[in-house]
């Protein structure tokens, strides 16, 4: 029988989250993880408010969405000055998206019109 069957697959193939030990590993790891996640969340809530509005718009309409939408929209308006980075990256990506070698037609519409 194989190692995986006898002792579990982690013993056989390892896990990507098991990294070689270091003293820093045990220095308040929960607080460190929580501050990291909280900082990333705060950063994204400032710079990516339109995603929250899109999420509210995608919810099944109801009492909750009626209450949430003005809050999300107001937050989007308040953070508009710092939303530029997202728009800038998206615009560059769209430009890359529109590049062509010739007159090829990618995408679903292209599938119907193709020769």
């Amino acid at each position: 029988m194989t190692t995986g069957a006898e002792q579990g697959e982690i013993a056989e193939v390892g896990s990507p989250v098991l990294v070689p030990g270091d003293p820093v590993d045990h220095r308040a790891p929960l607080r460190w993880a929580t501050v990291t996640i909280a900082t990333a969340t705060a950063f994204l809530s400032l710079t990516n408010a339109p995603t929250a509005v899109a999420w509210v718009d995608g919810l099944t309409p109801g009492e909750l969405t009626v209450r949430l939408r003005p809050v999300a929209t107001a937050w989007q308006d308040a953070t508009a000055p710092v939303n530029g980075a997202h728009r800038w990256v998206a615009a560059r990506w769209r430009a890359a998206h529109d590049l062509r070698f010739g007159d090829e037609q990618p995408g679903e519409e292209g599938a119907n019109d193709a020769p």
Binding site: P16, L18, V19, F101, P106, A114
Partner: protein, 467 residues
């Protein structure tokens, strides 16, 4: 509720806060995780939660009976358990297909009858949790794992990171972790955050972009595409399915690690495999090792003679194909892999000792193209469509009507990442764990922002949700 969505991010933040707030009591922590997992699963369809609970309850009862009875009775109880689990899988997954085939057969024999064609709702992840339950019963019977309590077994089968698309985490990996409150390490957290970010990029950007603008149009109407379009489309699907499925595994492993649990590796740069056997040690490792341990080896493996080994290999891969779904295409896909594994084994056995070994790059190229050939059957909606794709691919029209610089670059990138050093995430995590938390949080936020800006509107479901 899908991983790369705003709704899931809110859900996960809530789970993270609650479960770590409850670290004083392992039992309450596990109850909270179980409730969260059922909420997550119920977001698809509330009825599925009842199925999941019923499955956990029955398997818990069988395991308790196995340990309380002698070996002979225990063996019969395992058989009953395997049959029950497979019946659930068959009922949801294969009934419609077999009735369809029966109706077609009766029609052909001039005995056309109104066979009731069922429109069966397939509960997401049913293939994953039934396989998990089967291996649990076998492992309890063979005394590899002790029988678990109802809470632990329910959580093992329902734990939301792996619930709908794997990895198939064995009881021997997860149950010991459930017995104590887990502890984080900075290294594991760093690797987890990197895996989640890497998974987001692969799914939301690479897989989604390739699906919408290269692969779907190529497979939609292959007869009206050039051979060049279809060749790059097939390579594109190889990259898409890798980026899609490995992204799910990466995110699942990362999310579980943030809650304190380790999952096994599920992908290991599969397109750098030098043989198909090597490929299956790198692709969906939790399924291939499951099939090896609970099907191939019990069938006799390579211990019962040459002919039987080939039959066992073929049967294992054929059933592996069938596991993906009831269709002729999946059966052909599995058969192709089973046949080629046999060819490889025969070639290895007959290879003259004085001949030089096959160069590594030849092995990689041949294996990759066998895999891509299989993917055409895997992706095409039906057998006729797959054959039409292959016919058009061989037509010899090398104009480009579909491939853009961006899609070509993404295909190249998706293949190039297989040439990167192995264990890259762990190597970066070793450095990242030294960073101050605010700096890491800002970097993480900025990179997620970039990924969000690159992704198309809306994210298609993961390919493996359908299995």
């Amino acid at each position: 509720m899908q991983f790369p969505t705003f709704g899931f991010a809110l859900f996960f933040l809530a789970v993270y806060i609650v479960t770590w707030a409850l670290r004083g009591s392992n039992e309450w922590r596990k109850i909270a995780l179980l409730m969260a997992s059922w909420f997550f699963y119920g977001s698809w369809d509330g009825r599925f939660v009842a199925l999941l609970f019923a499955s956990a309850f029955v398997n818990w009862g069988l395991a308790q009976a196995i340990v309380r009875n002698d070996a002979r009775t225990g063996r019969w109880l395992v058989v009953v358990g395997v049959v029950l689990n497979l019946a659930v899988l068959a009922g949801f997954k294969y009934t419609g297909f077999f009735l369809e085939q029966l109706a077609a057969l009766l029609e052909r024999w001039g005995m056309g009858r109104d066979v009731p064609l069922l429109e069966v709702f397939l509960p997401v992840g049913v293939s994953f949790f039934t396989f998990q339950a089967i291996s649990y019963l076998v492992d309890v019977h063979r005394r590899r794992v002790p029988a678990a309590g109802l809470l632990d077994l329910s959580l093992l089968m329902s734990f939301f990171p792996h619930l709908v698309a794997g990895p198939i985490v064995r009881a021997s990996d997860l149950l010991p972790q459930f017995r104590r409150v887990p502890r984080l390490t900075r290294g594991a957290v760093s690797a987890a955050l990197l895996l989640i970010l890497w998974g987001l990029l692969k799914k939301a950007v690479i897989a989604s972009e390739l699906a919408a603008n290269l692969v779907d149009p190529a497979f939609h109407d292959p007869a009206h595409r050039s051979s060049f379009d279809l060749l790059i489309g097939a390579y594109g699907y190889a990259v898409q399915i890798y980026c899609d499925f490995s992204a799910y595994s990466d995110m699942a492993i990362g999310l579980a690690a943030l809650l304190g649990y380790s999952f096994p590796r599920n992908f290991d740069q599969p397109y750098r495999a030098r043989s198909l056997q090597d490929f299956w040690r790198r692709w969906h490792i939790s399924l291939s090792s499951w099939l090896r341990d609970y099907l191939y080896i019990p069938l006799g493996g390579s211990r019962k003679g040459r002919a039987r080994t080939y039959v066992n290999l073929f049967a294992t891969m054929f059933l592996g194909g069938l596991w993906h779904g009831a269709s002729w295409n999946f059966m052909l896909w599995g058969s192709l892999h089973g046949l080629w594994l046999g060819v490889e084994r025969a070639a290895k056995r007959r290879w003259p000792a004085h001949w030089p070994a096959v160069p590594a790059f030849v092995g990689i190229l041949v294996t990759f193209h066998i895999v891509v050939l299989g993917w055409i059957f895997f992706r095409a909606p039906g057998l006729d469509e797959a054959l039409a794709y292959l016919a058009a691919l061989g037509a010899g029209d090398w104009r480009n009507t579909l491939v853009t610089p961006l899609s070509l670059a993404l295909v190249a990138f998706g293949l190039a990442i297989h040439a990167m050093p192995a264990r890259g995430v762990q190597a970066i995590a070793v450095r990242v764990r030294q960073w101050p938390a605010p700096a890491l949080g800002l970097a993480l936020g900025a990179l997620i922002l970039v990924v969000d800006a690159l992704r198309p509107a809306g994210v298609a479901p993961f390919i493996y949700y359908q299995f």
